[in-house]
């Protein structure tokens, strides 16, 4: 009987611990910093600079959330994760948020029990070939040798695409992007395929980028976004609306330069609600009302982050493309702040 009571108490304690853990916001506040899972290194998206400070497009999401929740964009513990460890790190509670160029797929959302908090980059799989090959379309790649990273969705996409178009290819399996660059430049394969953003940044590092072309075909949808655990909707909302705040800020013309001025009050009620001048939106998910202002001040609005990390002024040189505002013909569409 005594043992039974003991185990009963233990179970109750375990359940209580589970409940306590569910409020990620309280955990983050108690800890004083946000634990954010990132890639161990992907050009433009996350990389440590010479001083060991993480920089990049994905990193900026972590910093914005930390600024919104804790008021300090530097209050982030970055946990570098690999393709294998990222999901376990999130579901075991080691990290609060995963911002690691992760494609939003059905099975990851449903089966792995994660909640995607939106999309910060619309990517797609493309092909890079040497100009000498004289190819101008992916349809002409029949019989080509193709460098491809093993164990990724790109491998499956490639197989699907070639089968659908009745073509054959010879895969050259490689492990990392760096290895792929070496193999491709050494002529071990005619074609290198991975996400278009990765191809662009890879080509930018070549000694002769003008001799390599990206083919126009994009053969897959790769919507990349930050994700959190299932079951803590409040936390998912915070991440989701922080991302929307960055996107909306660009739409409404709020930049890191004019934000302090706009936060004194404007004629536009939407901007006023977003920056916490009126409406009291922040309190609805237990943050201060100026949460969005702090998030935007951390690294600027979505457009500013994009152009400083992966945009056309950087060596990576990505065009906005699908990642433009909906008003500019892109897919970015922040829900109304009301």
């Amino acid at each position: 009987m005594k043992t039974f009571t003991f185990f009963g108490a233990l179970t109750a304690a375990g359940l209580a611990a589970g409940v306590v853990q569910a409020a990620t916001l309280d955990d983050v506040r108690a800890r004083g910093n946000l634990s954010c899972g990132i890639s161990t290194g992907l050009a433009g998206f996350s990389a440590p600079d010479a001083n060991g400070v993480w920089q990049g497009f994905d990193v900026a999401v972590c910093r914005a959330v930390a600024a919104a929740v804790l008021g300090d964009p530097m209050a982030v513990t970055f946990v570098p994760t690999t393709g294998q460890t990222r999901f376990t790190a999130l579901s075991s509670g080691e990290i609060d948020l995963l911002a690691r160029n992760t494609t939003w797929t059905f099975s990851r959302d449903v089966d792995l029990k994660f909640t995607f908090a939106g999309i910060n980059y619309y990517d797609g799989q493309g092909f890079m070939v040497s100009r000498e090959l004289g190819v101008s379309s992916a349809r002409e790649l029949d019989g080509a040798t193709i460098c491809i990273q093993t164990g990724t969705t790109t491998e499956l996409n490639l197989a699907d695409y070639f089968r659908a178009n009745n073509m054959s290819y010879e895969p050259v399996p490689i492990e990392t992007n760096a290895e792929a660059q070496q193999q491709y430049l050494a002529g071990a394969c005619d074609v290198y395929t991975t996400d278009a953003s990765g191809l662009a940044s890879t080509r930018a590092t070549f000694a002769d980028p003008e001799n390599h072309i990206l083919l126009p075909e994009i053969i897959s949808k790769e919507p990349l976004g930050p994700l959190v655990r299932h079951g803590d909707d409040e936390w998912a909302d915070i991440v989701k609306w922080t991302l929307y705040a960055l996107i909306a800020a660009e739409e409404y013309g709020i930049t890191s330069q004019n934000i302090d001025e706009l936060a004194r009050g404007t004629d536009n009620p939407e901007i006023n609600r977003l920056l916490g001048v009126e409406g009291g939106l922040g309190q609805m998910f237990r943050l201060e009302n100026d949460w969005a202002r702090r998030a935007i001040s951390a690294g600027g609005n979505y457009g500013e982050i994009f152009s400083s990390t992966i945009g056309e002024s950087t060596p990576i040189g990505l065009a906005r493309g699908l990642n433009a505002q909906w008003t500019q013909g892109g897919l970015l569409y922040a829900m109304p702040f009301r």
Partner: protein, 432 residues
């Protein structure tokens, strides 16, 4: 009559000829070359082939190395300086070398890992070289706590109160000794464990509140680079040897329980790849531990690496034990030595000496295996090379980073290998 001979013999030498130098083909470099490189048609062919390969390699790598650029801010700048010529861009080492060595450890605190490394040499000296005074061994005993404090920082009282667990155990053993060997042994193990679980934490807090003394704390996620490899490697090496000895003895023990446990442990660990254990440390343990526990990832990895190396070490040492003739055991028994004394004075010194090549082999393997932590997202030199390439300045750089990392590992592993050869010569007791 003296000219009788003159009629039969035309010439008689009456002085000795001065010794002639040996023919030029039989001395020095020419002889060496003839004997070693061109002693037969097969060797001539092999020599010519080898010379061709060497020249070919030098012709390709030589210009690349000679043209190295050491001063540039990015790969693009390197290429601009080289202006189309082939050349290495070692500027990345200049820019990121500190990161490859220390990870993200704060730059103004580099003196702490440096000092820890220096003190490690001091602590190892009495173990490695017999001429160093024995008293230094006391420092070796407290060195792990000193190194922990230097590297991670924080209150000095935490490592001190953890260290105090050992004298506490010894004291308990002294007090309980009249009550019998088994009971005092159990108490000597239990008391330190209780001390660490219950007393050490609050005591450290109390002492810190009375005399606040500490270094700036550095979080584990700021550890990286070669420093991380050395921390994991050295700790694993230092702990796996004693653990391996215990396991080897356990496997040869007559006691059923101890033997079964040792065999089970060794066979299980040897049957599982290291990478699996690392994934267990990084992923699986998180599910088992209560939510919110922050069990340091580096500590988890060190434990797994140590267990892994200990299993291999146990088998190496068991090989040494098996090599000893039975007479050595019987001689120890005949002298009236008990089990531990026999092991300490007769068996182990010989068994370990026999096992030196195997032990060092395991050490070197363990040290190189530390690079596997890259797969669980720890930034050891290999992991950092990936991160450095992700910086747009250095994206596309490849061999330069690996050459630097390879060189660092070579220095360590070659050093270990040379020391083991020195040790074998020193301990050689058979006279030929």
């Amino acid at each position: 009559m003296s000219d009788t001979h003159a009629e039969t013999v035309a010439f008689v030498r009456d002085t000795m000829l001065p010794p002639e130098p040996p023919p030029v083909t039989e001395i020095g470099a020419v002889r060496w070359v003839r004997e070693n490189l061109f002693s037969g048609w097969l060797n001539v062919l092999l020599t010519l082939g080898a010379v061709y390969v060497i020249v070919w390699l030098l012709a390709h790598i030589g210009p690349w190395l000679l043209n190295s650029v050491w001063n540039a801010g990015s790969l693009a700048e390197c290429r601009q300086i080289l202006d189309g010529a082939t050349g290495a861009c070692f500027a990345v080492i200049r820019d990121r070398g500190q990161q490859l060595l220390y990870g993200f450890y704060p730059a103004n605190l580099y003196w702490r890992p440096n000092l820890a490394l220096l003190l490690m040499v001091v602590a190892l000296a009495p173990l490695l070289f017999p001429r160093v005074p024995r008293r230094v061994l006391w420092f070796s005993a407290v060195y792990p706590a000193v190194a922990y404090w230097l590297l991670w920082g924080g209150s000095v009282w935490f490592p001190v109160s953890v260290l105090l667990g050992f004298p506490a155990g010894y004291l308990a053993w002294r007090v309980m000794r009249p009550a019998g060997a088994i009971l005092s042994g159990i108490v000597a193990v239990l008391v330190p464990l209780l001390w660490w679980a219950v007393v050490a934490g609050p005591l450290a807090g109390l002492l810190q509140s009375i005399v606040p003394l500490g270094l700036r704390p550095v979080r584990s996620d700021q550890f990286g680079g070669f420093m991380l490899s050395i921390i994991i490697g050295v700790t694993g090496i230092a702990l796996s040897l004693p653990l391996g000895i215990v396991l080897a003895l356990g496997r040869r023990s007559d006691m059923f329980l101890i033997k079964t446990l040792s065999v089970g442990f060794i066979e299980f660990i040897r049957g599982v790849p290291l990478i699996t254990l690392l994934f267990t440390a990084s992923l699986l343990l998180n599910y088992f531990l209560p939510p919110g526990t922050n069990f340091d990832i580096i500590l988890r990895v060190i434990i797994m690496v140590t267990l892994f190396a200990a299993a291999y070490m146990a088998e190496v040492i068991r090989g040494g034990l098996a090599a000893l003739p039975r007479g050595q055991y019987e001689a120890a028994d005949a002298l009236g030595l008990d089990y531990w004394k026999a092991q300490r004075l007769v068996i182990m010194p010989q068994a370990l000496k026999v096992s030196i090549p195997g032990i060092v082999n395991t050490f070197i393997g363990l040290f190189k295996d530390t690079t596997l932590v890259v797969f669980i997202g720890l930034l050891d030199p290999i992991g950092l090379s990936n991160s450095i390439r992700a910086d747009t300045n250095w994206n596309g750089i490849y061999w330069e980073l690996f050459i630097f990392i390879g060189l660092l590992f070579f220095i360590f592993c070659f050093g270990m290998s040379r020391y083991s050869q020195h040790l074998e010569r020193r301990l050689k007791t058979d006279h030929h």
